[in-house]
Symmetry: C2
Subunit: 283 residues, 2 copies
């Protein structure tokens, strides 16, 4: 299959917050995360890049370094693309990925059934927390993460191995990647699967950078972890490829109640509304 | 193979000159023309579209109509894509095309040899002429062409049938599509093939809109005709699928002389320099 994802300066990154390596990494990570959510193996990447006149060569070179470093780790050749001059002041990138998986086996958004459990991979809220601190500090550290997960905003890690294993072992009934945020992406799963869902806030595995702020995990975006459904009888491993998997809720039949609800730490059940995230970067 | 092409407002079209159907048509035509130049058959198209906030729904709907109309005629399904909000005021599109052809048979830019003849398809200069008149009138007629070639700027016709036949019959040794303009695209052929070239200005088939102005044919861009090389002994048909093919020059060995030269109507041989075109739309 083919996925395409824009990465637009001012919308998906800011040059003063995200260093060039981060921007390059994130361009490819968005596309790889799409493939991860389907359980697909990446075959080749194609980059379309429009650059504003006068952009320093060094920025471009570091941008490509960031992209290529992730491409090498993910084993996906950068097979071509297009370059153009951008009409405005912003860098515009579009990443196209070819992925493969056996016909008819892709993890879909539409497979969740009432009674299924809701899981996420990794720890949530880190990308939003790091973005907030970039906003406050007004500049990027520009340092590459030493350990995976140290810079969840600047260098998110697409969960290719997790998605592939979930698909191969038949562990998940539906899957999506957390790009817009848990509350938005769960709504996508619920709509595609025609079910409702309930999450238990106390079960959500928080990224240390989120410092206990569960709002960042629920409404923050760009963690690029996987959110997936599984039959309750499925024996779910505690981790895949070193990435923890956590049950954070369950799917229910659609009814008159809100489509999504959340159970607070003190047990109260309330409606979960889709939270905005894009306003953090977008205008 | 995969091709990707940006179509960026302010760079590749202007909303006040090109109607929405034209912008949609041109987005796809750019990608199809890339495939035509390789002699490939289009299999599927993927559109990434970033739209400025507040863009009228009607514009988007007409844009997609323009794109779909060409897609249907070319027999290429629009198989997916991505939408995003554009960071600025301009529409940003990236078209990805999957094409197929038997392995190792693609028409390349690098196959021209000294002694080969230089051909073009169709008639040149029409796209530049129509753009100049849009510039002067300041608005688009927004009417779809009734006959192919009536609006070479607004509704260029990618030469898929010509490219496919040239490849299948082994008629061409190298090929490129005329997107940047004859003088620029011929330079690409010369560089890739490591040859020089000479064109005879009087032989260039001018589009009626160019009204005899050969400069528009030589330095104007976006005609999306094919420019190709063929062995001198090849029996070239006069037309393929109704599109005339015209010999307009020949390839020579590289030497101390300029890489490209032109023979004027009165027989004088002068250097042909790459002419700019992008300034007509770009800032």
């Amino acid at each position: 299959m083919v996925t395409t994802d824009f990465t637009l300066e001012g919308r998906h990154f800011r040059r003063d917050w995200h260093g060039p390596e981060s921007a390059g990494h994130r361009t490819l990570a968005r596309g790889l995360s799409d493939l991860a959510a389907m359980g697909a193996k990446p075959l080749a990447a194609f980059l379309s890049l429009a650059l504003p006149r006068g952009l320093e060569k060094r920025w471009i070179s570091l941008y490509l370094n960031g992209l290529r470093e992730l491409a090498e780790r993910a084993g996906v050749p950068l097979a071509g693309g297009d370059t153009a001059e951008a009409p405005g002041d912003g860098v515009l990138a579009d990443i196209v990925l070819l992925g493969s998986l056996p016909e008819g086996t892709a993890l879909l958004r539409s497979g969740a059934r009432a009674g299924d459990l809701l899981y996420c991979s990794g720890r949530l809220g880190g990308a939003a927390a790091e973005l907030l601190s970039l906003q406050q500090d007004g500049k990027s550290s520009r340092r590459r993460a030493n350990g995976i997960g140290e810079h969840p905003q600047l260098f998110p890690e697409p969960r290719l191995a997790v998605g592939a294993r979930l698909r191969e072992k038949g562990l998940a009934t539906a899957c999506i990647d957390l790009s817009d945020g848990l509350s938005s992406d769960l709504a996508h799963l619920c709509e595609a699967s025609e079910v409702a869902a309930e999450i238990e806030l106390s079960r959500i595995p928080l990224h240390p950078l989120a410092k206990g702020n569960v709002e960042l995990a629920v409404h923050g975006g760009e963690d690029y972890e996987l959110l997936f459904a599984a039959r309750p009888e499925t024996k779910m491993p505690r981790a895949i490829a070193g990435v923890p998997l956590t049950c954070i809720g369950r799917f229910k039949r659609r009814g008159k109640a809100p489509q999504m609800s959340q159970i607070a730490a003190y047990g109260r059940l309330t409606e979960l509304r889709r939270g905005g995230w894009e306003h953090l970067i977008g205008s």
